[in-house]
Structure formats: C-alpha cells, structure tokens
Symmetry: C2
Subunit: 201 residues, 2 copies
C-alpha cells in the first residue's frame, strides 16, 4: 500500500508539528499570564513546553514570533467559531468573535500593547498589523455587504463604514474591559451596537 | 500699594511656573516625536527646555510623569475647546475633541501604548487610567443625558451606553488612523457614528 503509506507519512509529521506548536503556544500564554511577557524568557517557554531551546528556536526565532503566532491562533479560532455558527442570526454569529474574551485576558492585553506599539512605522510588526487590520476590515465589509443584499442591514447603512466602526468598538471595548472588567460586558455592548444597524437582531 | 503688589507677586510665580511647565512639555513632545519616547532622556528634555536637570526633576520626578502631564494637558485643552464651542450643534461640539489629532500623532501613539500597558493591574499608571476612563465616561454620559432631555437623542438611546460606545469608537479609530493615516478620517467616521444617535446632527 505505497500510496497510503506515503499519505500517512505525510500527514504524520504535519500533525506532530502542529501539536508541538500548539503545546509551545499553550506553554507561552500560561507563562505570560503568570510572569508577564517581558519577564518570560525563551528558555522558560522551552522548559514549560518540554522541548529543547534549539527545538523552540526552530519554530519561533524570537519571543515576538511566539506572541504573533498566539494572536494568529486566536484569530483563526475566532474564524472557525464564526464558520461553525453559520445557522445563527447575524448578530449572534458576529458575537462569537468575542466569545473567548474571558479566557484570554493576558493575550488580549498583550494584543492591545503590541498593536499600539506597532502603530509606529518603524516597528518590526507594523506591516503585520497594518495588513491584519486591512484584512479584518475587508472581511467584515464583505459580510455586511452580504447582509445588506439580504435586506438585513438597516436602510442607509454603509457596509465599509460599519465594518470600520465595529472593529473600533471591539478594540475600544477591550481596553475598557481590561481596565474595569467588573463594569464592562463586551458581549452586551457589542450586541447593542450591532442591533442599531442589523435588522431583527 | 501693598495689596496690588502682593497679588501681583502671587500671580507672578504661578504664571512663571505654568509657563515653565508648558515649555518642558513642549520640549518633551518634540523630542518624543523625533527620537522616540524610550530613547529620550530627562537630560535631553532639560537641555531642550533650557532648564537644569534638578529644575526638571523638581516638576517631574520621572519621564513617565512628563508623559502623564502631556496627556492631561491634551485632555484639558480638549475640554476648553468643547466649552468654547457651546454654540455649535451637539455633534460639532463633540467633534472638537478629535480636532487636534493631526497635530498630535506622537502623543496619541504614546497614549495608546501607555493605556494598553496600564490595563495591567500592577502597572504604576493603572489607577490613573482607570479613574480617567471613569471620569470621561461620566462626563460623556452627563452630556448625552442632557441631550436626551432636550429631545436631541434618537428615541431609545441609552446615554451611558452611548458614552461607553463613543469612547470605544474614538480609541479604536485612533489605532486604525495611526496604522493607516491615509485611509482613516477620524472626524468623518465619528460624525457618522454620532449622526446615528443624535437628532439633527
């Protein structure tokens, strides 16, 4: 069964790598939460993940790469949640994006700091964040345009503007929630914002 | 004329101190813009402001104190602009808050980074930012409540929620504008957001 063997061989290492990378990211976020991003070393991450430092450096040349991978993973998981909830009403589908907030305080705080730092044009992650925002904006605009075509946006709503404003609301609410978690309910606030624009929300 | 002299003496030093502090802050923001916040030293700020280092340390024990004073000054100036524009329609009055954005890129970027860092409960500026957000929120809520009483908010608008969302929109738009100044018009976006809630905007 040469074909099957090859295919199995091909899947094997990929799955193993993915699982190793997930293990590294899980270890990193736990260390960041307990000791802070700055105090955590690559040595700490390697130890916690149970791999050698060269093994870690093979996947992530620097701690900043670990952080960016964590942010990407969170985004990918949010996309998967959104895809899995296609049968929900539009507002509930969008709200799945912030469903993981309570479990990701550390990562969200790091995200806010890194985004703010990366607004500087000479920051190494500047292009990454610029592209990221552009991509998220485009994706949200496309979704809202689709809702508009289905008659689910309130009359006069501009899909691109709503996308920009929604992204701003989400970012801003994250800051307010990080500062005063007891007095900000991100899901409720975002639901109210979306209900101003989406029909039958 | 002892009374006049006393009064003049009393006013004199205050005015002189205020002018010296403004000079320090002007020097600091220029240095931050050119060399970055981290690379700027207290020595640089003292030199640029034309005062001694002990003189600088008398007013500002640390560089972080200089930054916080800059942020306070920007906020005070925004409040003055808002007070001076009481005759404008409500939306235009609110928009005076972001009127200085183009001239304050460096400060706004520093503000975003500092706010994000200060979301961590053990950050020295945590309480300052928590209080600041609370104060801004209360002030905005009071203004919106006033508009509601005058029949200038669209029916069903909750003043406190609108205040929270508006602050989030402003914060979020700042990040988008810092990342892509050419493609974000903060004033236009904020005007559109407010027009959804304020009558006759």
């Amino acid at each position: 069964m040469p074909t099957v063997t090859t295919s199995s061989h091909r899947r094997g290492p990929y799955a193993k790598t993915a699982s190793r990378i997930n293990g590294i990211l899980d270890a990193a976020v736990e260390l960041f939460a307990v000791n802070g991003y700055r105090s955590t070393t690559m040595k700490d991450i390697a130890e916690k993940a149970g791999i050698s430092q060269p093994g870690l450096l093979h996947h992530f040349p620097s701690k900043a790469d670990v952080l960016v991978a964590l942010l990407r993973r969170r985004e990918e998981r949010a996309l998967i949640r959104a895809e899995e909830s296609e049968d929900l009403p539009p507002v509930d589908r969008i709200l799945t994006v912030v469903r993981d907030v309570e479990d990701n305080r550390t990562l969200i705080a790091l995200h806010c700091v890194l985004t703010a730092e990366a607004t500087s044009p000479d920051h190494p992650a500047h292009e990454f964040f610029k592209t990221r925002y552009h991509r998220i904006q485009e994706r949200a605009t496309a979704s809202f345009r689709h809702l508009l075509e289905q008659g689910l946006l309130k009359p006069g709503t501009d899909p691109a503007r709503l996308a920009r404003t929604m992204v701003a609301v989400i970012d801003g609410l994250h800051v307010q929630w990080l500062l005063a978690p007891e007095s900000v309910d991100i899901t409720a606030e975002l639901r109210a914002f979306l209900s101003d624009h989406i029909v039958n929300a």
